[in-house]
Symmetry: none
């Protein structure tokens, strides 16, 4: 589909803003969903004039992680383009990945007589874990001709990036996890799953040995277990596919990392929604497409904090007029997946969406809620089609066939 779209692209000066309220969709508690209790007069009024609907990030019943959720929003089939766990972990810890990298999720573990006694090293405090990782990085930064980058994470977690001098053939990161997944077993050996992974596996073996030697004296974190060996996917560049120069506005490193993977500009910014909006305004003339990511809606959902999630939606409502004042050709407000407070986790439920443009029917929904969006002109559709709609509504697609 992206191939077809690429052939139909025509450029113009229109602007597209995609606002992602992370984890937007919800489920009722005491009869109402978070969207139904949120105070959001501006969003509701916009929904009435917009094309509304619900979208399905991966497939009916499938709960997406943040990676697939966002790739789908950007028009990449999330089943075709799977981002490895190691890559997502490294991106989330703020490492900028290159095409020559292999990324790995790592755990500190407690080993006793060759047996894994605690896979999480007693969930050692983040500060303690960070000190160990920083000590290791000082001692180990290169194996043969491979740069080694270590990034501290939460508690026992950290990420490892092996930066090779040249891009590796695909399949080079097909290495079995060394984590035995159960206590009382020895760690698994570093097993390349095909011949092109042998080169990476040898470096990994040396790395495990080096790290073990340096931490064997620690009380708890005296060994490491590795999972999710992965390469950066050879994914088409967003601007090449859509002809849109794109800016990612996100305070969390993982979303910036994802955006960078597809070639968006994603400078680090910090602060709350207000700071993000200021950043959008300052950069508005410089790009065609803006991905504005608002994280906290999801965070409260994951905590099961129903009113907290609703209040974050209300908070966004207050800045919506600032975005509307920019008068983009297309403004989309949606989420990357649902995170019902009831479930305290991501879920499979379709995500409400509104699309503002001059070329919509409008007047099908009375508010921006899950139930009202069901009445909308967009119906229930695959998330991966949303970018095509954005392009069409900004007059950036030629007719297909004569």
């Amino acid at each position: 589909m992206q191939k077809l779209i690429k052939e139909l692209i025509q450029k113009n000066n229109s602007k597209i803003i995609l606002v992602i309220l992370d984890g937007l969709g919800g489920l009722p508690i005491e009869g109402k969903t978070e969207l139904e209790v949120a105070d959001k007069p501006n969003i509701d009024s916009l929904a009435k004039k917009s094309a509304c609907g619900l979208h399905i990030p991966v497939a009916m019943g499938v709960t997406p992680g943040s990676g697939p959720g966002h790739l789908s929003l950007f028009g990449y089939d999330p089943i075709e383009w799977q981002i490895g766990r190691g890559v997502l972990e490294a991106l989330g810890l703020g490492i900028e990945l290159k095409k020559t990298d292999v990324a790995i999720r790592a755990n500190y573990a407690t080993m006793e007589n060759g047996i894994v006694k605690d896979r999480r090293a007693g969930r050692i405090p983040t500060e303690e874990s960070r000190k160990i990782t920083e000590m290791l990085q000082k001692k180990i930064n290169r194996i043969d001709n491979v740069d080694v980058i270590l990034a501290p994470g939460m508690e026992h977690r950290f990420a490892i990036v092996l930066r090779f001098p040249k891009p590796l053939p695909s399949g080079s990161a097909s290495i079995r996890d060394t984590d035995p997944q159960k206590e009382g077993k020895p760690p698994l050996s570093v097993l390349p799953e095909n011949s092109s992974a042998r080169k990476v596996a040898k470096v990994v073996e040396k790395l495990i040995k080096l790290i073990s030697e340096n931490i064997k004296g620690q009380e708890k974190a005296n060994f490491i277990l590795l999972r999710g060996f992965s390469q950066v996917p050879d994914i088409p560049c967003f601007e090449e596919v859509y002809g849109l120069s794109a800016l990612c506005i996100a305070t969390y490193p993982m979303y910036r990392g994802l955006a960078k993977l597809i070639g968006m500009d994603a400078p680090p910014i910090s602060g709350e929604t207000n700071e993000e909006i200021e950043f959008l305004k300052r950069n508005y003339e410089r790009y065609d497409f803006f991905f504005l990511h608002i994280k906290k809606v999801d965070s409260y959902g994951e905590d099961g904090n129903f009113m907290g999630k609703a209040s974050k939606i209300s908070e966004f409502d207050k800045v919506l007029p600032d975005i509307l004042n920019l008068n983009p050709a297309v403004l989309i407000i949606t989420g990357d997946h649902s995170t019902p407070s009831l479930l305290k986790s991501h879920s499979w439920h379709p995500v409400p969406v509104l699309l503002k443009s001059p070329y919509v029917l409008g007047n099908t929904c009375n508010a921006f809620t899950e139930k009202e969006c069901l009445k909308g002109e967009l119906g229930i559709f695959p998330t991966v089609n949303l970018m095509t709609l954005a392009l069409a509504n900004s007059s950036r697609l030629k007719k297909f066939g004569a």
Copy 2:
């Protein structure tokens, strides 16, 4: 999908009428769409009793040309079956194409010292252009063993068909456009894009030379530029796939040409909707399936004539009782794409559809409009599935599996 359907076909004596109001769907101007302002008591009353919905011709956000729009209605995947520009142009100018043909879109152009000065020869008047084309046809009707057919078009445009003695291998028309797309450049050479196109390219070179010699004295139209070299696709025959003998009733040559490509009978007829209905009645006993094409709805939409488009819908409403009197097993009223007067062009918006049959829920819509169809029992679905629904509702499909 067509392969599966073919296996399930069972024949009977039922009749299916597919009415295409070309460019049917619209967008609101001052709050209402063309369908919402049209006076159409008969269609609205039928919609109440029918299965309604909206269909998407190619993909969400993709604006279909007439070719893909109609192929999709006939159950052919419009991405799999792409009809070349040259073929569509030739069909539109009334040439009947054979499997041995290569069709080309041609422009008269003004050349000066080997440079294209005007790609459209000053948009010379249609009558002048026609005279030149007719003069050329008299002088050139054969190159080697290839028949040359020229068809005059509007202004600087015409079509060329090269009729080879035997069918050509596929890929034989893969020849680069000679139109440089910009003034101030020389025309591009005739470049075959693969080895099987060499044979055709040689004939094309000779043809350009012959035509140039004959028109070099013209003031404006002294050269030709060629685009859209294409072969007739080897597309399955409608009757073979569906077991339906089919009649196309259309006043515009392109739609008859498209219908003929898939083996429908499509005799030339002229006149307005009334003449088309009379033609339908006269031929009603002779066929199973009737594709009744009403062009003017689209034409007014393309002109941005909102009330004109609405009046053409109202006009159709008046003849609907005549169609209903024939009592077909299935009557479908829809369009091949939307043409909102607001956009003055084809658009990507889903197309309203009603399907009358004894086997529907009904009573979900109060009128035949975009918004009412959103409430319909067919939902929003790919156009390519419509034929299967028509077959099912006329009891022409067996059960799949035991």
